[in-house]
Amino acid sequence: MQQRILLIEDSRTQALRFQLELARYGLAVEVACDGLIGLAAARSQPPDAIVLDVDLPELDGYSVCRALKADPATAHIPIVMLTRCDEAQDALAGLQLGAVDYIPKDAFAEHNLVQAFQQLGLI
């Protein structure tokens, strides 16, 4: 069965970049363009994994992650956080909230995202 990924990312360009890469590996990717829409989408139809940008309009990625992990219906969903910020405290914050991975948006981001999903058994 095709694995469903919810990508919560406000940049259309970056969303498309990740969507195309994940689609190459047979993943069905749904995109939500802000934190509130993403949270609602995850609750209405829980995906197999979530790719969550940290900097989001309406509700930031940390808040979305916190809300999803606090909800028994979505707490089990692996969350991979994407960030422009690559500092120790930020990574720690994301991982302490329950994200399984924390990936900087650099030239290797798509590769690392695919590797993460392989390690999670989704690819």
Binding site: P78, E87, A88, V100, P104, A107, F108, Q115
Partner: protein
């Protein structure tokens, strides 16, 4: 659970932000190969890029050496960097490197005096409970 196998020492010379990103990716790849979980990969990669930026800002260049070591029968990934001569005025490099934060991400982060040279060593245990 004992993870991975030995990694031959690998040296990375850094002079620009590009090298920081390249090293972070190298750390990712090595820790992945060694079988660390995703969170551990993210932690040590972020710790190293955070440290590397501070060192680059001060020293303009740095050489990091990545290797696996055995410490008291414990396999570890060690990333070392020569910071330069130990300051004669007694200045401690630890606060500059913000090692207190770094230690929240890795198993060990310490600066030692090795024959007059200050050397930073960051280590991550390679024995873990099986995890994602």
């Amino acid at each position: 659970m004992h993870l991975g196998s030995a990694v031959s020492p690998k040296r990375i010379h850094m002079t620009t932000e590009y090298h920081v990103i390249a090293m972070r990716q190298e750390v990712r790849q090595i820790t992945r190969t060694l079988g660390l979980g995703l969170a551990e990969q993210a932690k040590i990669a972020t710790a190293m890029s955070t440290i590397a930026r501070v060192i680059l800002a001060r020293n303009r260049s740095a050489v990091f050496t990545l290797q696996t070591i055995d410490q008291d029968a414990q396999a570890m990934l060690e990333i070392a960097c020569v910071l330069g001569p130990v300051p004669v005025d007694g200045t401690q490099p630890e606060p500059l490197l913000n090692l207190a934060n770094i230690r929240l991400l890795v198993d060990e982060a310490l600066v030692s005096d090795d024959a007059g040279e200050a050397i930073l060593r960051v280590r991550m245990r390679l024995t873990r409970v099986a995890r994602r």
